[in-house]
């Protein structure tokens, strides 16, 4: 598949070209095309998601789709690019000779022109374009449901007729038309409100318009709002008015329709095609007439209900699936030849994981264990990053091909180092709110790791692999790779009940793979609740193989001379370490002979306190030595999809004390009967006392539970699922 970048004049949320590019980038991934968003004027706030044109490393075979939304400097830059060029028409050039001249100038110099409507296709053909392909725009209707609007924000006066008009869709040369409409409406209903939603970006002569507008009562400029507030406005109004004359796709109408708001629209450009009998179209801008009609549409429940019902039916034609299908046909020339996939004795499988090798992390450890065991059955290539630190994604390992445990590992550099304060600030602003795709994808980009080389490899060479196993749904690497290779992918989501799981953009990560290999019944329940239409799922988890350990060797080496509680894993706030330290401090103060607390693993915080031993990373043998001598193992993380540490503790005959806030750990302890849970200092103390008092029976139960988790079962499950992919492509 070809790499397809998109080029914008500027990246500004709310503008048709920007919104179209965001929607297209998701669809392109679903078709297997990797590409970046670039702008001549990229805002700093959107880095690293949106790049400057100069920073793109274009190859001659790459495509760049320029978004044309009026005469601009973009045309000249597009003409000079040394790669394959295409065009997307986002705004009709009807009344702008400069725009028409640029479109005509591009006609012989782009290989492909994409039109989101028949009106756009006609405009392109009139300008001399030959290879014009039509695609269907789409709207993610679920994002406009009643449940997506925050309560009471922004505040709309109840009981007054409220008309919403998209400020971006005002006729650029005649914005005052909307004021003429509002004057007529005020004559009929003096308390009527007109809300202008969005930026006045396309207007010529904004100032005189604003001067007139502010004198009118009941007119409010809402500006560019966050998605949930936009939904609240659309849901709280009685009518959506569109006076646009150069709408190339009708997408703003689709959003109003998705919010069950009756649409009254000037039937020109792409509007008649978008409505196709839904909503109310009008052919002349007679504002006294339109005001009367607006009142009737707002105040007649029967008429309103019929119009909304028609709109709901019409929306079915603008689903993402329909859009994907139409784009697949439109971009058939970009698909390239199907790469030969020889029938091999062993399937060729790529494992996608954010870090690989000697790194601390549950998902990464699981990936390595799987690769080590599956290499006997598959021809495995691990596609990963050069990073070892998930907090920065710094490129510490060399890029290129290497070998780990005998498996081929290909590392790609990460383009952007993660800045946790920036990500945390954005997370605080976004979590718990209903977002649009742009807001979500920006968060995913900041979360990282951004690995353009890896995505390019999947786009260009992905056809050579028989199947993929992707680890961890959360990171950009997986979130953007899985839609590209979905039908040949097994996803090991390692999902927790965490705020980003509410993001709609992860829906395709759970729905498009061939199968999900989840770790526990609790994780499966979580995925089912969040994504009811998820791909076929199977509880597989991980196996455990006990290694003999020598507790004296561990005590000697690390100078631990009293009974101890053990934690092995990343020592960081997200893993519940600060609470564990506080509870242990309380235990230390209240008990006569309290156990010490041993923390082993890479630390990103200072773990100190009486009786606390912070060891840093330890070897695999050291871990089994430590397990052999531990009084109990502590699993403090509130977010787990499977606790490998708990399984290893059970195998070593050590009881587990787990955080009650984690459904998964609670479930593991309930099913095994080999430990206790805690939720505060008092229950932590009780749990420690209980496991000391009943250590032998708890250890027996733990061993019995661990015996059921054999690697041979896990390997069998992976082989069966991959066989299904290879044999039924």
């Amino acid at each position: 598949m070809a790499v397809v970048h998109q080029l914008l004049l500027r990246f500004r949320r709310g503008e048709p070209a920007t919104e179209s590019a965001i929607r297209l980038s998701a669809l392109l991934r679903r078709l297997g095309h990797w590409g970046e968003l670039a702008a001549l004027e990229p805002p700093r706030s959107e880095a690293p998601w949106v790049r400057s044109l100069g920073s793109l490393r274009l190859r001659r075979t790459d495509w760049v789709l320029g978004h044309h939304a009026g005469a601009s400097a973009l045309t000249a830059r597009l003409l000079l690019l040394g790669c394959r060029r295409g065009l997307v028409l986002d705004v009709l050039p009807s009344a702008d000779p400069g725009s028409r001249a640029q479109l005509a100038g591009l006609a012989s110099r782009v290989e492909l022109a994409l039109a989101p409507s028949t009106a756009a296709a006609r405009a392109l053909e009139r300008a001399g374009h030959r290879n014009v392909m039509r695609f269907t725009p789409h709207v993610e209707a679920d994002r406009f449901g009643q449940d997506r609007a925050p309560h009471g924000r922004p505040r709309l006066a109840p009981g007054r007729p409220v008309v919403v008009c998209d400020a971006g869709s005002l006729a650029p040369r005649r914005p005052e038309e909307v004021l003429a409409f509002h004057r007529e409406l005020l004559r009929l209903r003096p308390d009527a409100q007109l809300l202008l939603l969005g930026r006045l970006h396309a207007l010529q002569g904004v100032r005189p318009f604003v001067r007139q507008a502010v004198r009118l009562r009941g007119l409010r400029f809402l500006g560019q709002r966050a998605h949930d507030e936009r939904v609240a406005v659309l849901r709280g109004a009685q009518l959506f008015l569109s006076l646009a004359e150069n709408d190339a796709s009708g997408e703003s109408l689709l959003e109003a329709m998705a919010a069950d708001l009756p649409v009254l629209a000037f039937a020109t450009g792409a509007v008649p095609e978008a409505l196709d009998g839904a909503g109310v179209g009008f052919t002349e801008k007679r504002f006294a007439f339109l005001a009367e009609l607006a009142v009737q549409l707002s105040e007649s429940p029967a008429l309103r209900e019929r119009v909304v019902e028609g709109q709901r039916r019409r929306l079915g034609a603008f689903s993402a699936e329909r859009a994907e299908k139409s784009l697949r046909v439109a971009l058939a020339t970009l698909a390239g030849p199907t790469l030969p996939r020889r029938r091999r004795r062993r399937p060729r499988v790529a494992v996608l994981v954010q870090r690989y090798g000697d790194v601390t992390g549950g998902a990464e450890a699981l990936a390595r264990s799987i690769v080590r065991r599956m290499s006997r059955h598959w021809e495995v290539t691990v596609l990963t990053t050069c990073a070892t630190d998930h907090l920065t994604w710094g490129n510490t390992l060399p890029a290129g091909s290497s070998s780990v445990d005998g498996a081929r590992v290909v590392r790609f550099p990460v383009r952007f180092q993660r800045e946790m304060p920036v990500l945390n600030a954005l997370s605080r602003r976004l979590f718990g709110r209903s977002l649009d795709r742009g807001e979500e994808e920006r968060w995913v980009a900041l979360q990282g790791p951004l690995v353009p080389g890896l995505w390019r490899h999947l786009s260009e060479e992905g056809g050579r692999y028989d199947g993929f196993v992707a680890f961890t749904y959360l990171y950009a690497l997986t979130a953007w790779a899985v839609p590209m290779v979905g039908a040949r992918t097994l996803l090991v989501p390692t999902a927790h009940d965490e705020p980003p799981l509410a993001f709609e953009c992860y829906r395709e990560v759970f729905e498009r793979p061939r199968g999900l290999l989840v770790s526990t019944p609790e994780e499966l329940g979580l995925v089912r609740r969040r994504f009811p239409h998820h791909a076929r799922a199977r509880v597989v988890g991980a196996g455990v193989e006990r290694r003999p350990g020598d507790p004296r060797r561990f005590r000697r080496r690390h100078r631990v001379d009293r009974p101890y509680l053990l934690y092995v894993g990343r020592v960081e706030a997200g893993k519940g370490i600060p609470e564990l330290l506080a509870f242990h401090r309380a235990l230390w103060a209240s008990e006569r002979e309290p156990p010490a607390l041993v923390l082993a693993g890479h630390a990103s915080l200072r773990a100190e306190g009486p009786g606390v031993h912070a060891l840093g990373r330890i070897s695999e043998q050291d871990k089994w030595d430590a397990l052999a001598g531990a009084t109990a193992v502590v699993v403090p993380s509130p977010l787990e999809s499977l606790s490998l540490l708990a399984l290893e503790a059970f195998a070593a005959g050590v009881p587990v004390i787990g955080n009650a806030h984690s459904d998964v750990v609670r479930g593991q302890l309930r099913r095994s009967g080999a430990g206790r849970v805690y939720s505060d200092a008092a229950t932590f103390r009780e749990a420690v006392q209980a496991v000391i008092a009943r250590r032998a029976p708890l250890a027996r139960k733990g061993r019995a539970f661990a015996a059921k988790h054999r690697w041979s079962n896990v390997v069998q499950a992976y082989r069966q699922e991959m066989k299904r992919i290879v044999e039924e492509p």
Binding site: S94, R100, A101, G277, V280, E284
Partner: protein, 141 residues
């Protein structure tokens, strides 16, 4: 005025609205001026005209800002404005000259292409065919 939609009877709805307008003593206002015609635009001709029209930054299109404000601005920042406009004039001249040179080259190349296409023996395609027809050199064993 036509109302388009399948969820209602457009003719009846328009009639009802007109009846209410008449009751208020309003006859329908005159329709808007039609939009610009959408005849194809030749990019070359358009750009040359546009460059001619906007070549001198001092002769700006009519401004929407009040004359007094502009006068005050000119009085306060005249020197800076002159310097900026001088730079703009020079830039415009470069653009105009560049466009003229490129246009001349395009016209010349088009003429030469047309001449070549008129002479059947010298068509680029024919030359390519002749090259393909040449016997291949044998590779040494």
């Amino acid at each position: 005025m036509k109302l388009l939609g399948r969820s209602f009877d457009g003719g009846r709805l328009a009639k009802e609205v007109r009846a209410r307008l008449t009751a208020r003593g309003i006859t329908e206002d005159s329709p808007d001026a039609p939009l610009d015609d959408e005849a194809p635009v030749d990019p070359h001709a358009f750009l040359v005209q546009a460059l001619e029209a906007d070549a001198d930054p001092v002769q700006a299109p009519p401004s929407a800002s009040p004359g007094l404000l502009r006068g005050l601005l000119r009085f306060a920042a005249g020197g800076v404005l002159e310097e900026l406009l001088g730079r703009q004039r020079a830039f415009n001249a470069h653009v105009r000259d560049l466009a003229a040179q490129l246009s001349a080259e395009v016209i010349e190349l088009r003429q030469r292409l047309a001449e070549l296409e008129r002479q059947p023996g010298k068509r680029p395609a024919d030359r390519a065919e002749r090259r393909r027809a040449k016997p291949r050199r044998r590779t040494p064993r």
